[in-house]
């Protein structure tokens, strides 16, 4: 049943990291095939429904040891299920040294160097600035609390067509109204318009040297059953002159680990230095009377707030603690965010960690759910995540619909814990002032730390010992094999990562096109921003 095909460029994964190079290569004249593990769904399929078998077709909960990560599993990748907060990383991030004591980002990469690429992505998605009257109630409440505590607070730029948005708060399910500007609405249709071919339900297993002269790599895949992703229904291989690996920070290093014997080894940084972007979520149990008395807010007669489930999930955030003059591992942003009910399990009702997240008191906390406010701190972690040996297929072991077990282990170091403690203290200083709310971080007993922002498991850098990719995003020692997804980002970003992942992917494209052209493909870089 196995066939071998050939193409100029093979792209693995169709999120930000895959869609952007696929567009530039196809528009530049190369023949492009995109292999995507998940299904191809569009707006009518994205229902407002929490039943298992709906959103669970496109979102995975990946459990490691000490960490649980949420990620997309569909054409468009995590951009389909994400919350669309689109932020540039603060300048100091590019100078981070971590506990290694040397610069972690390539010396050529600074905020100023990345700004032109950010510009392009913001134009392509496009990104919109929310005005204050477009910030939903939870974001307004957080802003008012920041202000009263002497902090600043900003509306968050979002990749959302604000005129179309209904503020339904169902972003995790994919956008039913096509208001969220995922890859399904810009780079991917532009790539297919230039002849790129997307193949859903194709899970890549290995990358090996090609056997056909003139081709550099041979990529093997299995086809997955649309109803049960655990079942293979076929297999094949494609040879390509250039491979763009963009399976996401949870999968890219695992595919390379499995391929290492075939490729004659991979850099030792593959599968190390994973970062969860320092994500730290807390739930505030807000006192409605204090919202009225302290903040003077009323959203309807007699109702100060009760707005937790209303709006776009991310409305406002504070940049106050992004001060470059302060020490590494103490800087973070604090952002108002909404997570759907499946995460309610993690809210803590008491201060006894073993039983704080279930039982009688927790049920009482649930009765006040409309008055919850949640905040996400994005801190500087220590890149302490490490992947164990790869599972037999894919990047993790699927145990049930959308539930996967990964070999990733994450043991927060003292540096990371210091950042989280600082973020917890700030959340309390803002939200517990004069009894406005009671704030507790999500329980770590159930799932370890939780991140929706996996990064850095195959990172770029100048030091071959601690970075798997050179500053162009090419895997060291493997010409023509590029990595352009979240795994290439060297460190946590102190803001949501998608815009930076996308800008780095844009930045890598001229080099990928050039490398492809050197193999005799008539490809040119220079396509305009897709529309």
């Amino acid at each position: 049943m196995s066939v071998t095909e050939r193409t100029d460029v093979l792209v693995i994964g169709s999120g930000f990291g895959g869609a952007i190079p696929a567009y530039h290569l196809a528009a530049g004249g190369a023949e492009v095939v995109i292999l995507e593990r998940g299904p191809h769904l569009t707006a009518p399929d994205f229902t407002h429904d929490l039943r298992l078998g709906g959103y669970t077709r496109i979102v995975d909960l990946v459990q490691g040891d000490g960490i649980t990560v949420v990620a997309g599993n569909c054409v468009g990748g995590s951009s389909v299920v994400y919350f669309a907060a689109s932020l540039r990383a603060p300048g100091f991030v590019f100078d981070r040294r971590g506990s290694l004591g040397h610069r972690l980002w390539p010396s050529t990469l600074t905020r100023a160097a990345l700004d032109p690429w950010y510009d392009r992505v913001e134009e392509a998605l496009p990104v919109a600035e929310q005005s204050w009257d477009q910030v939903p109630y939870p974001g307004g409440l957080f802003a008012a609390a920041c202000d009263r505590a002497g902090r600043t607070c900003n509306p968050v730029p979002v990749a959302v067509d604000l005129a179309r948005c209904t503020n339904c708060n169902w972003m995790l399910n994919g956008c039913h109204f096509d208001a969220k500007r995922s890859m399904l609405l810009n780079y991917l249709p532009a790539a297919t318009a230039h002849g790129a071919e997307i193949r859903p339900l194709h899970e890549v297993q290995t990358i090996a040297p090609a056997t056909t002269p003139g081709y550099r790599y041979r990529v093997s895949y299995t086809r997955l059953d649309a109803g049960d992703y655990r079942l293979p229904v076929g297999a094949g291989a494609i040879e390509a002159k250039t491979v763009v690996l963009a399976a996401g920070a949870l999968a890219t290093p695992v595919l390379l680990q499995r391929s290492a014997p075939l490729l004659g080894g991979v850099p030792q940084a593959v599968g190390r230095y994973f970062s969860g972007n320092g994500d730290r979520v807390s739930i505030a149990d807000v006192d409605e009377g204090k919202v009225r008395d302290l903040l003077g807010l009323e959203r309807a007669p007699g109702i100060p707030y009760q707005g937790f489930p209303i709006g776009k999930p991310i409305g406002s955030m504070s940049y106050d603690r992004l001060d470059p003059a302060t020490a590494e591992f103490t800087r973070f942003s604090l952002q108002q965010i909404y997570f759907p009910g499946i995460t309610d399990l993690l809210a803590q009702a008491t201060d006894a960690p073993a039983t704080s997240w279930f039982g009688v008191r927790k049920k009482e906390l649930r009765a006040r759910w409309p008055s919850w406010l949640s905040v996400l701190a994005m801190t500087e972690d220590d890149n302490e995540g490490v992947f164990g040996p790869p599972p037999p297929t894919g990047s993790s072991t699927r145990v049930a619909t959308s539930l996967c077990l990964s070999t990733l282990s994450y043991r927060p170091t003292a540096n990371t814990l210091r950042g989280w403690a600082a973020a917890d203290a700030e959340a309390r200083a803002v939200l517990e002032r004069d009894g406005l709310a009671r704030v507790r971080p999500w329980s770590e007993n159930a799932a370890g730390s939780v991140s929706a922002h996996p990064l850095a498991s195959c990172r770029m850098g100048d030091d071959p010992a601690t970075s798997a990719l050179d500053e162009r995003g090419e895997l060291r020692g493997h010409p023509g094999l590029f990595v352009t997804d979240g795994s290439a980002v060297p460190t946590s970003l102190c803001v949501n990562p998608s815009l930076t992942i996308a800008a780095l992917a844009e930045r890598a494209c001229p080099g990928i096109v050039e490398s492809t052209a050197e193999e005799g493909v008539r490809a040119r870089y220079g396509a305009p921003v897709p529309r």
Binding site: W132, T152, L345
Partner: protein, 167 residues
């Protein structure tokens, strides 16, 4: 996980530790048996596992359990809670299994994960009613035309760059 009142006089499985419906009334057992989930067949084995741990707990804490009931059911509610805390603590054996069970019990209550949400709302699903989940429009979709306080509630950071980003 989400305690509730007894379903009938003499209900043993539900301890009756809190007023209002709990995870069982919300459909936890239906959810665990959902064919899409594929773990229904394992439930008797899982019950056996929990009962073994309940026996061990009783033995080490000097509890005498009536032999007429499964050991976990025979534990007092405070003991069930303490045992659950032990089973779910990081590093405990088989913890991943218990976390999954906890996740599904909570998902039945918080999200009616075995029902289409619009249908669950129409049926007044006890968990969604308890948390105050809003109702959809007539077409089964959620929209919030009123969603913002509509005014500036803080000053932006002075170093904000064009487009609203941190510097």
């Amino acid at each position: 996980m989400v305690p509730g009142e007894k379903r009938y006089g003499g209900d043993m499985a539900v301890a009756g530790a809190a007023p209002g419906p709990g995870a069982v009334q919300a459909g936890a057992v239906e959810l665990l048996n959902l064919p899409d989930l594929g773990i229904g067949v394992l439930l008797p084995e899982l019950a056996l596992l929990v009962n073994t741990r309940a026996l061990a707990y009783a033995a080490t804490h000097g509890r005498v359990l009536p032999p007429t009931q499964p050991p976990f059911v025979a534990l007092r509610f405070t003991d069930r809670t303490a045992l659950a805390g032990e089973l779910l603590t990081p590093g405990a054996p088989d913890r991943q299994l218990y976390v999954l069970l906890a996740l599904f019990a909570a998902a039945a209550f918080d999200t009616a994960a075995h029902l289409h949400t619009a249908v669950a709302i129409r049926q007044r699903h006890p968990g969604l009613v308890w948390i105050g989940f809003p109702a959809p429009g007539a077409d089964g979709l959620w929209r919030f035309p009123d969603y913002s306080y509509g005014r500036r509630l803080a000053s932006e950071h002075p170093l904000t760059t064009v487009g609203g980003h941190p510097a």
